[in-house]
């Protein structure tokens, strides 16, 4: 059996290498799309930290990515002297702060679908506030968000040139994925899992359940806010649609599509979703039916998700010659 850390590091390194090779292989439109997919993957991974590790079904993740996106957009447009990495940190903080504020209320009812409804309602409130506040550009949002410069000591890099911003997106999303993986493996992650399995017992064992859940919510909010912030200069626009509840369904889609029980599942889901969208791009007008039918098919026929099912098949294939070598099924949020 491979040890988890090298296996994870190898997978991540391979993914980053592949992503960085893309600009040499495909046209700029596809490179742009790949940047969005990387961001979507982080949205999915942070949702899955909540869902599979901490056992919280959030239906309001769009509020946090919108918070990060608007924070980054405002800083880039109004305070361009703020270094971009600081702006990214501020956006992550915005996501985490909003998550704490919403979590303080919503976490009073964590059972199943109630939490989903509460987070959905709060994210709709964020949507309304964005669409009605002048600072946020009301319905039109904020446009013309520039790609930043990175300044360090002596020199500076203009990320508006060529594919440089894409490279930054890949590096930051990879670092975020690594951080999320580390959290699921840490003592904190173990506490999250203990609460998911049996909150009452966890409390009995001395785990502060409410506090830990709030931490999980804040960490996922920070990663989601960071992903939103990366998207703002990429698409050069933020608008209230970012906080629409339809956007909150996306990380859930990625997760279930790819497989909630596997760490990389949401990332696979994000890639597959983008591929389906790209393949059907000229069938415009039928997108509702296609997306709806695809989702329904996955949920009903492949409940373990694509990666989850593929891994299970692969194990079964490997297990046939030597059944005793078969590893136990991966725990939720477990093996890479």
């Amino acid at each position: 059996m491979t040890r988890p850390v090298p296996a994870f590091a190898l997978t991540l390194a391979a993914l980053v290498a592949l992503a960085l090779a893309l600009p040499f292989l495909v046209n700029r439109g596809l490179v742009f799309l790949a940047g969005l997919v990387a961001i979507n993957a982080v949205l999915g991974l942070s949702f899955n930290l909540l869902f599979s590790t901490a056992g919280l079904l959030s239906f309001g993740q769009a509020a946090f990515s919108a918070a990060g996106a608007y924070a980054a957009a405002l800083l880039l447009l109004r305070l361009p002297e703020v270094p971009f990495l600081a702006a990214l940190a501020a956006s992550a903080l915005a996501g985490a702060g909003l998550a704490v504020a919403i979590g303080l209320v919503a976490l009073r009812r964590t059972e199943g679908v109630y939490f989903a409804v509460l987070t959905l309602a709060f994210s709709e409130l964020v949507h309304v506030v964005l669409a009605k506040t002048s600072l946020f550009g009301r319905n039109d949002g904020l446009t013309g968000i520039p790609r930043p410069r990175l300044s360090y000591g002596l020199g500076s890099v203009d990320l508006a040139v060529g594919d440089r911003y894409y490279v930054l997106v890949i590096l930051v999303t990879a670092a975020t994925a690594a951080a999320l993986w580390w959290v699921t493996r840490s003592r904190l992650g173990r506490a999250f899992r203990a609460i998911r399995l049996d909150a009452m017992r966890a409390a009995y064992l001395g785990i502060d359940v409410r506090r830990r859940r709030l931490q999980a919510f804040a960490i996922a909010g920070a990663a989601t806010g960071l992903a939103g912030a990366l998207a703002a200069p990429l698409t050069s626009i933020v608008s209230p649609d970012l906080a629409h509840w339809g956007e909150s369904t996306k990380p859930i889609l990625f997760t279930l599509l790819g497989g909630a029980g596997v760490f990389w599942g949401p990332a696979v889901g994000a890639v597959v979703y983008a591929a389906v969208e790209y393949a059907t791009r000229s069938l415009a007008g039928a997108s509702d039916l296609i997306t709806g039918a695809l989702l329904l098919a996955v949920v009903l026929a492949v409940p373990g998700g694509i990666l989850g099912s593929a891994l299970r098949l692969a194990r079964r294939g490997r297990a046939r010659p030597a059944p005793r070598a078969a590893p136990a099924p991966a725990p939720a949020g477990g093996a890479p």
Binding site: D140, T143, S236, S239, D241, L242, Y278, A284, G285
Partner: protein
């Protein structure tokens, strides 16, 4: 590099071009001209997007049947912008990445505003087919975005028509959706009222605060109750599509429009098609009224449109798409190039023929100058659709368009 291409586009140095960059010389090749059509084909604005898409396809088909642009056929790549700026920029970049730099079809203000910096950075062009915001050709002016159709000044023309037709109706209010689009429509209409009522009717108008209504609501009765109490004798409506049909439908028992003049901003036939013989008599703006334009081009386009879609009463967005496709065709023929800088240069000051007659692209702010069309609709239980067009007016664009102020806010009259 750019200056050389512009020089070539001016018609000089063809031989040089042949040797250096054979692709930019037209007439020597029949390589297709690929145009990107990005418009909402799902979500709330799909209805309008379908007119843009079909209109563009019919226009391309007609140009190709007539031999294309100097022998080159036009091929369209259609994409769904989902009425969402992020999705719109994604498909725009996908097309740009594939070398499809000449794009058209946006109807959303937010998307059109987002395209300026994007097209500039990626060296593309977008021709919007109905985005309403005044920012496009004012404070957010960008040389890479053109509005080939009615600008904001359409509402000034509608105000002028009201002053001419109803000089005694001097008190006005509005039914305005709680959205940037609605606020713009109201502000420009008021600007027109304040200019044209004193000038045409000899009386200053009374402007009464508009009734702001929510977007996408199923119940407008409170707002209708408010509106019934208004002393205004004229009402301008900026609600749109299904919202407008709901509002008119619910207003029926209240008799809101019984003794008032109703000017609708831009629903064309949407509301009348829905309400049929229950539609109140009203005026509405139209990008292109197919039966009011008797040119051969307009008639052929309407016929081809009906043949393709089965829709015998096409709405004006189809005409805007036709204007966009033919603007590219005319600009490419003039520039003898499909390169972005050359096409931009050719579009500026371009006068080209469209289903609504000739239009001219104003050089300073990329805003087309065209005649504004308005139609009056009234119920007619005998008609197949339950309503008829009882009047049609054209207002010359040059007489109502605002002065160009690219980079600066549009200045509007406001009630004292």
């Amino acid at each position: 590099m750019i200056s050389r291409r512009t020089l070539l586009a001016g018609g000089a140095g063809t031989a040089l071009a042949l040797s250096a960059r054979p692709r930019i010389v037209v007439g020597q090749t029949n390589e297709p001209i690929r145009l990107g059509v990005i418009t909402p084909l799902s979500g709330l604005q799909e209805f309008i997007g379908s007119f843009v898409r079909n209109g563009a396809e019919v226009a391309a088909q007609m140009i190709n049947k007539a031999g294309g642009v100097d022998g080159r056929p036009i091929v369209l790549e259609v994409r769904d912008e989902k009425a969402n700026p992020a999705a719109a920029t994604t498909v725009a970049r996908e097309l740009l990445g594939n070398g499809i730099t000449l794009q058209l079809g946006t109807i959303s203000s937010t998307v059109a505003l987002a395209y300026g910096p994007l097209m500039q950075a990626e060296n593309g062009i977008n021709l919007t087919c109905g985005a309403g915001t005044e920012k496009i050709n004012h404070e957010n002016y960008n040389p890479h975005v053109f509005r080939i159709g009615d600008g904001t000044y359409r509402m000034r023309a509608q105000a002028r028509l009201m002053a001419e037709r109803f000089p005694a109706v001097t008190s006005w209010t509005g039914i305005i959706p709680d959205h940037e689009y609605g606020r713009t429509v109201w502000a420009v209409f008021v600007d027109g009222l304040l200019e044209f009522y004193p000038a045409v009717a000899g009386k200053p108008p009374t402007i009464i605060d508009p009734i702001i209504v929510p977007y996408g609501s199923g119940d407008y009765r409170n707002f209708i109750t408010q509106a019934v109490r208004t002393p205004a004798r004229g009402i301008v409506n900026a609600t749109y599509g299904g919202d407008a049909a709901t509002f008119f439908q619910q207003a029926r028992p209240y008799g809101l429009f019984r003794e008032r003049v109703l000017m609708d901003a831009a629903n064309e036939f949407i509301v009348a098609n829905a309400l049929k013989d229950q539609v109140p008599k009203h005026w509405t703006g139209s990008h292109w009224y197919y039966a009011g334009n008797s040119s051969a081009l307009s008639r052929a386009f309407a016929e081809a449109y009906a043949a393709r879609t089965g829709e015998a009463m096409p709405m004006g967005w189809a005409g805007e798409a036709q204007a966009a496709v033919s603007a590219y065709a005319a600009a490419i023929a003039k520039a003898r190039s499909t390169e972005t800088p050359a096409v931009i240069a050719a579009l500026k000051d371009l006068t080209w023929d469209t289903v609504t007659g000739p239009r001219t692209m104003r050089r300073e702010d990329n805003q087309a100058v065209k005649d504004l069309e308005m139609i009056q609709l009234e119920p007619d239980p005998g008609a197949a659709r339950g309503f008829k067009v009882s009047d049609y007016v054209r207002v010359e664009g040059a007489g109502v368009i605002e002065p160009p102020t690219p980079g600066r806010k549009m200045s509007l009259r406001a009630p004292a």
